[in-house]
């Protein structure tokens, strides 16, 4: 991976670290650097997957614009896959 330290495909490493630490129950829990980069990658896949599935739904309905309605239809399966 070329973007070490900085942007790892969309999400910044630091943003990912803060996002995770916001929800940890134990203040001692840390995330190592590689895990931060891998989580940034996973979040990117999550977002692109959500967008791509909603786009496919819109196309199946012959729409040019994706709205929340299409997203709502693909959301249950998306959440089951993650």
């Amino acid at each position: 991976m070329e973007e070490r330290g900085g942007r790892a495909g969309g999400f910044r490493k630091d943003t990912v670290d803060r996002l995770l630490r916001l929800h940890f129950r134990d203040g001692k829990t840390r995330v190592n650097a590689d895990a931060q980069l891998l989580m940034a990658e996973l979040l990117k896949v999550f977002v692109r997957e959500a967008a791509a599935r909603a786009a496919r739904q819109a196309q199946a309905e012959d729409l040019e614009k994706v709205d929340t309605e299409q997203l709502e239809k693909v959301l249950p399966q998306l959440l089951l896959d993650f």
Partner: protein, 139 residues
């Protein structure tokens, strides 16, 4: 206590904004690929879902690490998070191996020519070696 709660709220707002921005960029890429448009509401909804999903991810990762008697979340925990979908697990495992091997390269650069034979290991072995190192750091 109230001040700490307020600070946490402000941090959460900033993080939500950061997520929203990144989601916007990623949706634009998908929009170009698939030749569709995304409404503002749909982008906001994906951001919100992603932010909420982070809470589930974070709590799972913490549990996985604790289950392995660690306080530091490693790539192994992230791989466990991606276990539900086969293709996702394959993709994440491959990315994790790339990270591990680029770490090896960096270490090798530091050591210079001291160990040229090590460069010929398989990706799997490299990954295992890096994981061992990480674990020993934590003890």
């Amino acid at each position: 206590m109230a001040a700490a709660g307020e600070e946490r709220q402000m941090l959460a707002q900033r993080l939500k904004a950061a997520v929203h921005y990144t989601v916007g960029c990623l949706c634009e890429e998908v929009a170009e690929d698939k030749d569709v448009q995304f409404s503002k509401q749909s982008i906001a909804a994906i951001s919100d879902i992603t932010f909420r999903q982070c809470e589930i991810f974070a709590k799972d990762l913490e549990m996985f690490a604790r289950h392995a008697k660690r306080t530091t979340v490693t790539t192994e925990d992230v791989k466990l998070l991606a276990r539900r979908s086969n293709s996702l697990l394959k993709y994440i495992t491959q990315k994790s191996e790339e990270l591990a091997s680029s770490n090896m390269e960096q270490k090798e650069k530091k050591k210079k020519k001291s160990s040229t034979a090590k460069g010929e290991r398989t990706p799997g072995e490299q990954e295992a070696a890096v994981t061992e190192n990480e674990d020993s750091n934590m003890a």
